[in-house]
């Protein structure tokens, strides 16, 4: 396994008096597809948001590519999120006023890539994701599955190191969800991107290389779950 591209060390995060993460440790290898599983309210999305630099941990540290996100300025973290990370959320979160092509070009335009180059990159990716006929459509004119594929294209267009996906198939039926997952993981692997995927769906998690479980803010890494110690304490 390659060196970690992303790691959380003893991360704690609370919202008011409610603890969401307790001493969370996690390591993600470069090129790995990791599924973060857990019931609703377990802290799995909070963990993803901390890993992605969207939320700052109360204590502990997030390391991306050898650099601590905690010690970066807000501006530096924004640049990392924009240029090195890609995001897919449950409901696409496409800009409703912009056509598909411009939605996908957006991360590149925000990073000051020329319109011509952004258009070429977005077009190539839309073709790759079987969305070539939809460039001019607005998000409101797309099916749920098409909108999520556009969101995948937008997440990958800037060749990110890490793609964060929060319940990317949560709003889709089985077939559309499967299609989105196939495209997301295949395209991410083609780009050597790491994928961190939050899901409560075991069938989606089974597409990953590895799973961790978040329960009551604590992370269980399945790599460490093995034989049971019969002398352990009861449930």
């Amino acid at each position: 396994m390659s060196a970690p591209i992303l790691a959380a060390h003893a991360v704690t995060k609370s919202f008011g008096s409610t603890p969401a993460l307790r001493d969370a440790d996690l390591s993600v290898a470069a090129g790995e597809v990791l599924a973060i599983m857990g019931p609703s309210g377990s802290g799995k999305s909070t963990l993803l948001h901390c890993l992605a630099g969207i939320l700052s941990p109360d204590t502990g540290e997030i390391i991306f590519d050898g650099h601590s996100l905690n010690t970066m300025s807000e501006n530096e973290r924004t640049l990392v999120r924009r240029d090195r990370f890609g995001f897919v959320f449950q409901f696409g979160q496409l800009v409703p006023e912009l056509p598909v092509l411009e939605n996908v070009m957006l991360p590149l335009l925000l990073g000051h890539t020329s319109r011509r180059m952004a258009r070429a990159a977005a077009t190539a990716l839309l073709d790759r994701l079987d969305l070539s006929g939809l460039h001019r459509r607005r998000p409101g004119e797309l099916s749920g599955g098409q909108a999520q594929r556009v969101a995948v294209a937008r997440a990958l267009v800037n060749q990110p190191k890490v793609v964060f996906a929060d319940e990317p198939t949560g709003s889709l039926d089985s077939l559309a969800g499967e299609n989105v997952m196939d495209l997301l993981l295949t395209a991410a692997r083609e780009q050597d991107a790491t994928v961190v995927l939050v899901t409560h769906d075991a069938r989606v998690a089974a597409c990953a290389d590895r799973e961790v479980l978040v329960r009551d803010g604590e992370v269980t890494d399945y790599a460490t779950v093995a034989a049971v110690d019969p002398d352990g304490m009861g449930g």
């Binding site: 075991a202 089974a206 597409c207 799973e211 034989a227 049971v228 110690d229 019969p230 009861g234 449930g235």
Partner: protein, 195 residues
């Protein structure tokens, strides 16, 4: 010492034919572990907790107890006058406890319709204050590993094979949901069985 009670709700909860997959010898060991008992009493407990309307034949109970005794996993603590099998009082031995622990701690081969045997394991582990969550986590891991195999299979083969893999995936997914829900309700469940 934990005291067992026989929850009246269980027979209604368990579907008919529920006991088909239950491992009877290890389940009897689990029922014997808290305190010595007679064959008929064990049958009554088994039927009430795990039978699901399908009583365990008394002949099977005595046959199983006899084999467990032969294998050194239980022994006769005492017998009332009359010498019939129903008069014998059985107690679990350290060998029996070791077998029970080994069974409880080993994830089942992930396959559809495991709930019955998983349910028995959860109840017995709760009654004996063993690490139920850890058992369920180990089972979860085994399930996820099997689901990953099936996911790989469905992508590399013909549609007919992919659909068969899907069948397994959906059922394993249902098992996992049950495991998750049970993990979240262990505290409540424990109150039904232990006081």
């Amino acid at each position: 010492m934990n005291v067992r009670i026989l929850p009246k709700v269980l027979p209604q909860c368990a579907p008919s034919g529920y006991s088909r997959r239950v491992n009877v010898p290890t389940t009897l060991l689990g029922l014997l572990e808290p305190e010595p008992s007679h064959g008929y009493e064990l049958k009554r407990e088994y039927d009430s907790m795990f039978g699901g309307g399908r009583a365990l034949p008394i002949g099977q109970v005595y046959g199983t107890l006899s084999r467990l005794e032969r294998d050194g996993q239980i022994e006769i603590e005492g017998a009332a006058p009359g010498d019939g099998p129903e008069r014998k009082r059985y107690v679990i031995t350290p060998t029996g406890v070791a077998r029970l622990e080994q069974w409880l701690g080993s994830p089942e081969q992930p396959e559809p319709h495991l709930q019955a045997v998983l349910f028995v394991k959860v109840v017995l582990a709760l009654m004996s204050d063993r690490p139920v969550k850890a058992y369920l986590d180990a089972q979860r891991k085994a399930h996820l590993a099997r689901m990953r195999e099936l996911t790989a299979l469905r992508k590399s083969d013909r549609l007919s094979k992919a659909l068969l893999a899907d069948y397994g995936l959906f059922h394993l997914d249902a098992d996992l949901r049950w495991i998750e829900l049970t993990s979240a309700r262990l505290g409540q469940l424990k109150k039904e069985f232990v006081r």
